[in-house]
Symmetry: C2
Subunit: 241 residues, 2 copies
């Protein structure tokens, strides 16, 4: 083996070990044996001192730097795994899963559960069909259909007025949104609109937020038209952002 071929770290390790440049202790080269050492005891790992740890930062040889980088990398990867696994454990708690349920099955249950819950909330929110006293804008986070379109539900409740529907259509048109289904209920001068909307695959997620903002400003505009001019100027800002 020749030094100039040691581009890979495992080879670097072996090269250094074979030339007595690092202290490998009782075990062989770290690629195979150090793993067992680390897993057997997490505390002993920190006592496992490479010689570069006692040297000053300024005079690190290239080998030292490579080793330090490798150590960093190893530890960062461990932290990443722990982060992911801690979230999986939280999900096990939320879904009432045994702590022994394997990752794949757990995630399958999570997918199923999220679908169920979303459908439940969607159905339950559809029950409030009569216009409420307070103004409301709700855009329920939707789901991607099989053909890649994003389907979601938007609900708007406000004072009824003549140019509300033209304004609403204008917003949907400008955001390239298609209305699949629309429910309108008016009562005592107020109106509730529930729309099932499809978005192109291109702008889907952004469109949801744009629509939410547009509907909010539409609602604010309805109110401001009966109030001061100062509010109307503020509303313009909301629209443009």
């Amino acid at each position: 083996m020749q030094p100039e071929n040691c581009s890979e770290n495992s080879q670097l390790y072996r090269f250094l070990a074979e030339n007595g440049m690092i202290n490998v202790g009782a075990y062989g080269f770290p690629g195979a044996a150090m793993q067992t050492l680390c897993t057997s005891s997490s505390t002993s790992y920190h006592n496992n001192n490479y010689h570069f740890e006692s040297s000053v930062i300024t005079d690190m040889t290239p080998q030292d730097r490579a080793l330090a980088a490798l150590k960093n990398h190893k530890e960062a990867e461990k932290r990443r795994r722990e982060r992911i696994n801690s979230h999986l454990d939280k999900l096990r708690g939320l879904l009432l899963c045994n702590s022994k349920t394997d990752k794949a099955s757990l995630l399958a249950k999570v997918v199923q559960r999220v679908r169920e819950l979303k459908q439940q909330t969607s159905e339950l929110s559809g029950l409030e069909s009569f216009p409420s006293e307070t103004d409301e804008v709700t855009v329920l986070s939707g789901e991607y259909s099989s053909d890649g379109q994003l389907i979601f539900k938007a609900s708007l409740c406000c004072e009824d007025r003549l140019d509300l529907m033209p304004d609403l259509n204008e917003i949907l048109k400008s955001l390239h949104l298609k209305t699949l289904k629309a429910e309108m209920v008016t009562l005592g001068g107020r109106i509730r609109n529930v729309l099932i909307i499809a978005a192109d695959k291109d702008h889907s997620v952004e469109s949801v937020h744009f629509l939410q903002n547009a509907l909010k400003s539409l609602l604010e505009r309805s109110n401001s038209s009966e109030k001061s001019k100062r509010r109307r100027i503020l509303d313009r800002k909301l629209v443009s952002q």
Copy 2:
């Protein structure tokens, strides 16, 4: 290196390669170089024929068997990864996440989302406080409290009768469940019960299902007492299962 020390597969690989017992092709020993080959093209992997693939199963040498096992292991692990990742992709779709959101962040959002949705459904289901016309049993999947107890909500809607509450208490007692809070609404001879319940850490998850079944059979029993004897017999079956 000596043959009897080759308990590890990577060492086995190298030993076999160095003695010309396997065809390693242009690259070195598989532990390092084969990985790059596999990632560069998934189809070429299947064309990457070890010599044992052409031999008959009956006359496999120990080396062949070890290699076959290693190959199986490798492929199984790949399938496992794909299974997990496909579920993660589904979750990305459900949460409207960019396909580039990393696993940890995605899972954090999933945890948050499940909590939100559970709270929403719990709140919304609490709104239907008046007894409905139809009989209902709902046991909402709960959540583990900080001290390890499982807290969940159970809802029961049926004809009111004198011995309903004693029966209900009997069920809760036999399952070692503690009632933290109870709401009762009666209207027109019907009753709706909403209970917040705590379960011991020991039987928590099972208790939820037992309670669901017990409540269902309690409800069936209430109906059957006003109806034919044939139904009552059927109900017994339901209870015992």
